[in-house]
Assembly symmetry: C2
Homo-oligomer: 115 residues x 2
């Protein structure tokens, strides 16, 4: 396994790691319909301000979101639209795995799908 491959695997793992947290998925889902400031994301996610700020910093570091500071507020938005395609794939997979009533999840899952 070459050094280059090692680095590539590390990068890919770090990318998935950013998506591997329910609170961060909530935040990303909250950004689906456009930019939002931190206070709005705190309300949407139900987390504390400090915790949401930290997750936003992590997501920004992973280049999944971008920050636009206007006045005293910080507006975050999706930097990488393929996030939703990833989630859509995973949702489809999970839905087909789970033996629960898929129809019950239809609204949510279709909301997570980009196309």
């Amino acid at each position: 396994m070459s050094q280059l491959d090692e680095q590539a695997f590390n990068h890919i793992a770090k990318y998935f790691q950013a998506l591997a947290e329910p609170m961060r998925l909530k935040i990303l889902n909250g950004l689906r319909d456009g930019e939002k400031n931190v206070t709005e994301l705190v309300e949407i996610s139900g987390g504390t301000q400090a915790n949401v700020s930290k997750h936003l910093a992590l997501l920004r570091d992973a280049k999944l979101i971008k920050r636009d500071s206007r006045g005293t507020k910080a507006y975050y938005s999706i930097a990488d639209q393929c996030i939703y395609e990833l989630c859509s794939l995973v949702c489809g997979q999970i839905a087909s795995q789970m033996s629960i009533d898929v129809a019950a999840n239809a609204a949510f899952i279709s909301a997570l799908k980009t196309n």
Copy 2:
């Protein structure tokens, strides 16, 4: 945020978590061309037998791979082909983000792409 949504986010996060580890990505990459037993995966990944076994158990728990025990050997194979599609998406994204020479990674990245 409904209880159903909470569960869904947890599921999706857990799925990504399974992919968020370089050693597991190596193992999954090693399974790209078909089933392999543990010893083979140990060689391919460069990990210890104990550690590879544990990662295999985790991947199986996440339903990404399946196990077929034949004689004294355990053959693992991909249970969820969409893994590679996920990796392909992430690879493309990372490649376009990184300011490194993409051509240098071409072989690896194309190897990770399903189509």
